[in-house]
């Protein structure tokens, strides 16, 4: 049976990873019909939602973990996979357990978690630092200190793409790294306006201000173009999720040799557990409904998980798979995960609405130097004081 699967994985590494999913699914005797929509979730999600609400749903679709599909589930448009989950014992294999929880609504499971992504990575180009004549920094402060030297060598110290979600993500990374796990949890999780307005956060904004200065001259839009600047040594570094690793890999770069990765910016080795999940709209066609189950199990299949996550650069959602082939950075991530140094991702903590407002603030902050850190913090507080 042909199943149409929509997603927004179109960059090189992502596409290669999707190919693995398709391969695994096609092996079950069905056919993966690829419905990629380029241009990130912002472009793709309205289309997916329109099609689901318009009564012409695809068979499966990507969403981020968390609250993006909440209402579709509520409206009964998504398929309930509780039975399959019980049969295959997803609660035992999926780790951390929070992932499956975010697929659960009123006790029923509506999605299949696919991978774990964490935002908390600083990617550094060894070449760039060599060229600038400074040592590859070990943490955020060293990095900030090295910025002038990089600039002098004609290298952009920090690559930040123009898309709003990149600066917003960067800021959340700074919050965890500079502010710490508690502050992060209080602000993003509890929406504590007082903490948001506090001195700890002011420090975070100070760091964001530094990042803003360091990012001047990036002039690219897409995250992977920014990553590409790091790969080619045009930029010193980039704060980006572990998916950036896919790009390094595709470019044939070796962790530790060509590039360096610092989880938690080398300050606070904590990672957040965001990720992608697949949702399955309710279909009328019986054969397709059946095939949906095949797809769901194949997604969680241990082999698929390994193949997919290796290509994608993310971590598998199963704790029981062998990732011998993983590179240094990935292994570092697995270690942190094993230690339980995790925070819930922003996708799960805040609504899309709040997320969008944050993005508006952050992208404006990074683009426009006339907004001071204090001003930005004030607006930050305002957003959280109203957030639900």
């Amino acid at each position: 049976t042909d199943l149409e699967v929509t997603h927004w994985w179109t960059s090189g590494g992502e596409a290669a990873a999707v190919a693995e999913l398709a391969k695994a699914f096609n092996a079950t005797g069905n056919k993966w019909v690829d419905g990629a929509i380029a241009g990130s979730g912002g472009t793709a999600r309205p289309i997916m939602i329109s099609r689901i609400t318009g009564g012409d749903p695809m068979a499966a679709t990507q969403f981020n973990h968390g609250r993006q599909a909440e209402e579709l589930v509520q409206a009964g448009l998504m398929r309930d996979f509780t039975d399959l989950a019980k049969k295959e014992g997803w609660d035992k294999i999926v780790r951390p357990a929070g992932l499956l929880k975010s697929c659960t609504f009123e006790g029923k499971i509506y999605c299949v978690p696919l991978n774990i992504h964490s935002w908390q990575w600083l990617w550094l180009s060894n070449d760039a630092f060599k060229k600038a004549g400074v040592a590859v920094p070990k943490n955020w402060d060293e990095y900030v200190a090295a910025a002038p030297a990089l600039e002098k060598a004609g290298i952009v110290p920090l690559a930040v793409g123009g898309q709003a979600w990149q600066s917003t993500g960067l800021f959340s990374v700074l919050t965890v790294a500079i502010g710490g796990k508690e502050i992060y949890q209080k602000v993003y999780g509890d929406k504590d306006a007082k903490v948001a307005a506090g001195p700890e956060m002011a420090k975070v904004f100070k760091a964001a201000d530094d990042a803003r200065k360091m990012s001047k001259g990036t002039n690219v839009q897409d995250w992977n173009q920014a990553t590409n600047m790091v790969i080619t040594g045009k930029a010193g570094g980039q704060i980006m999720g572990d998916w950036a690793q896919g790009e390094f890999q595709l470019a044939g770069k070796k962790a530790g040799v060509d590039y360096t990765c610092l989880p938690g910016l080398g300050v606070n080795e904590v990672i957040s557990t965001a990720g992608d999940a697949f949702y399955f709209p309710v279909l009328k066609d019986a054969a397709k409904t059946k095939a949906q189950e095949a797809l769901a199990s194949s997604l969680l299949d241990a082999k698929t998980q390994v193949a997919f996550n290796l290509k994608k650069g993310s971590l598998p959602v199963r704790g029981d798979v062998d990732l011998a082939a993983a590179n240094d950075c990935m292994k570092k991530g697995l270690e942190i995960l094993a230690k339980g140094n995790v925070v819930t991702s922003t996708d799960q903590l805040i609504t899309q609405d709040t997320q969008k407002q944050l993005e508006d603030l952050m992208s404006q902050f990074f683009a426009n130097t006339s907004i001071t850190a204090e001003e930005a913090q004030k607006r930050f507080v305002a957003i959280f004081s109203k957030a639900g």
Binding site: Q68, E71, G162, Q163, A164, T351, Q352, Q357, D360, Q364
Partner: protein, 300 residues
């Protein structure tokens, strides 16, 4: 005239029946889609609908938030700046080109094709090309720099203060050809004798255009204005393709705000509130005009 049996006036509903039947698509579109859709939008702008429309009313909350949002204010300002400039420049450039084309020049067809072809391209394409040309690393800036002016800076798409002009350049490139065409058609429709009279009166060419011809072309300007203005209000694709609203939110426009909040932020209520504000602005300007232009007047 009681002597004659007066066959009653036939039922008004069935007079002109074919015309009414043939107009059903138009009536349905007007009422269901445009009017119904608008009312629907307005109604839901008073709710706190998120991903899916829900009738849980929250009063004016969405509007309060809307006017509190810096991004919305920036969008409005951008639209105002872009709208004014785009109107002025489209009309001026379009008219100037049309006036030049009207000088009995050679290669008129060639020039016209050159000016008109961008109109055949979508905003997406237009945005891409101009993003490329205005890119400081490859485009105009780097070319000029490589010619020796190393301090030359021209990076409208990466400078918050002037990004809207970068979009304007592309928009004018795409749209002025059509304006030129409309103006040219208008110029050609002007009585030859007016030109002759002006020449006999010894009125210089530019004064003739300014004081006589332009005022005579009012209907053409009105049509053109409608076309340009409807394009301005709706501008979206070009911004997305060229800057995605960036840098930051510097080139944001209302239509993009609406779209982002409806689909990205999954806050339909907020998106509808913004739409309603846009519709309101349009209605205030357009409805009286449209009524005068098409409603009140009789045939011709």
């Amino acid at each position: 005239m009681a002597a004659h049996t007066q066959p009653g006036r036939p039922n008004q509903l069935f007079r002109n029946l074919n015309s009414k039947i043939a107009s059903i698509p138009m009536m349905l579109t007007a009422v269901v889609i445009f009017l119904g859709g608008t009312i629907w939008t307005v109604v839901y702008s008073f709710t706190n609908s998120k991903l899916l429309p829900r009738l849980s009313f929250v009063g004016l909350e969405q509007y309060e938030r809307l006017w509190d949002t810096p991004r919305w204010i920036v969008s409005i300002q951008n639209l105002a700046t872009y709208g004014c400039l785009s109107l002025i420049f489209s009309l001026t450039i379009g008219f100037l080109l049309a006036a030049l084309m009207d000088q009995k020049i050679r290669f008129e067809n060639t020039f016209r094709t050159i000016f008109l072809y961008p109109f055949a391209l979508s905003f997406i394409v237009t945005g891409l090309v101009w993003q490329w040309i205005l890119n400081p690393e490859f485009g105009v800036q780097s070319v000029v720099r490589s010619l020796g002016w190393t301090s030359f800076t021209f990076d409208p798409l990466y400078n918050s203060d002037i990004v809207i002009y970068g979009i304007l350049i592309a928009a004018l490139w795409q749209g002025t050809g059509l304006v030129m065409c409309l103006m040219l058609a208008g110029l050609r429709g002007i009585d030859e004798d007016i030109w002759k009279a002006a020449r006999v009166d010894g009125i210089p060419m530019w004064k003739t255009y300014l004081f006589i011809i332009i005022p005579m072309m009012r209907p053409v300007f009105v049509t053109t204005l409608v076309i340009i203005a409807s394009g301005i209000v709706r501008i979206y694709d070009l911004v997305v393709a060229q800057t995605s609203g960036g840098p930051g939110i510097a080139s944001d426009v209302p239509a993009k705000y609406v779209y982002d909040y409806m689909f990205f932020a999954q806050n339909l209520g907020q998106g509808f509130a913004a739409s309603t504000m846009m519709l309101l602005a349009v209605a205030i300007i357009i409805v009286p005009w449209a009524y005068l232009e098409f409603g009140g007047r009789k045939r011709g």
